[in-house]
């Protein structure tokens, strides 16, 4: 009997792929955003709104992750932004190797912003590095204000917390105060935005934030 010490990360294959991806994005000065939420929080609606405002100034592409269909890809293409769909079949998250494959199809060069819309799921996507610069977690006010406490990992691993559908607040029992306090309990440094994709409230701030990050990435060498 022989004991062999390994002390290696189990996800190391994905981590390694993600590191290579991150290097490629750095070389090409592409800002990469990974969007995560439950199904139905409004990720695609948000992208339709905010990318429409950015598409004439920047070269943008979106990778859409879903179990089935090309519906989200078609929605993004309808606003005039390039989109490519990953159908995971049954898998609950995206992995770095899939992103690399799709980026080769899209072409790594001259991309200012790549948005990865992850599979709607608050559990698994939190564990997989995709070479992104920014992780966004989105929650809508038709969900529970205790979700940050129920799914802490995804909030802990995120940089931005977007609260969506705030136009519906008069009709639901959602407490913004509690939701934000819960999120800050998990991660105090989260940047928080409150938006409505129906009446565009809060979108100016978020658009400005993303533009600042795109330009900051351009300046990085």
């Amino acid at each position: 009997m022989e004991k062999i010490t390994i002390n290696q990360k189990i996800l190391s294959k994905n981590d390694l792929n993600a590191m290579h991806l991150r290097n490629k994005f750095a070389t090409n000065k592409t800002l990469v955003i990974n969007m995560m939420s439950s199904p139905g929080s409004g990720k695609t609606s948000f992208l339709e709104k905010v990318l429409l405002r950015l598409k004439d100034k920047y070269n943008i592409a979106v990778i859409e992750g879903d179990l089935q269909t090309e519906n989200d890809k078609q929605r993004i293409e309808a606003i005039g932004v390039r989109a490519i769909q990953i159908q995971t079949g049954g898998a609950c998250h995206l992995e770095a190797s899939e992103i690399d494959k799709k980026c080769q199809e899209l072409g790594y060069e001259n991309l200012d912003l790549l948005v990865i819309e992850n599979v709607g799921n608050l559990v698994c996507p939190a564990e997989y590095d995709l070479g992104q610069d920014i992780n966004i977690v989105m929650l809508s006010v038709t969900e529970g204000d205790d979700k940050p406490l129920k799914y802490p990992n995804i909030f802990f691993n995120s940089d931005i917390f977007i609260l969506n559908k705030i136009d519906l607040l008069p009709y639901v029992d959602f407490s913004v105060e509690k939701a934000l306090a819960n999120a800050r309990t998990i991660k105090n440094s989260l940047d928080i935005f409150q938006i409505s994709c129906r009446n565009d409230e809060g979108l100016d701030n978020l658009q400005a934030y993303i533009e600042t990050k795109i330009l900051a990435k351009k300046r990085c060498s």
Binding site: I6, N7, I10
Partner: protein
Amino acid sequence: MHEASIANSILEISIGTAIENNSNKITLVSVRIGKMATIDESSLRFAFDAIKENTIAEHAVFEFNRVPLLGVCADCSHEAEYPGYFVACAECGSMSIKMISGDELEIAHIEVE
């Protein structure tokens, strides 16, 4: 939900390491899983047992070690174990707690014959 793919990575790394060390029988696989790593122990065991069939790890014992969530306060340096992410520092009330351990997903070692 993604325990099957984690189990697959564990098996790949274990078998690769055994072969590099000129062994063709793995008797034990030991992993360290952080409290906050969203891994369910029974699901991971089930997945590992299912995929180890007909490999050199098919008789391997699966040793699962859970690592506690430890945090250190960025303001007063107080270290403590936390039940989850994160509440205020028990010493000074600061909300700036940095993680020391608790998100591990690691293979510690294997035993081979």
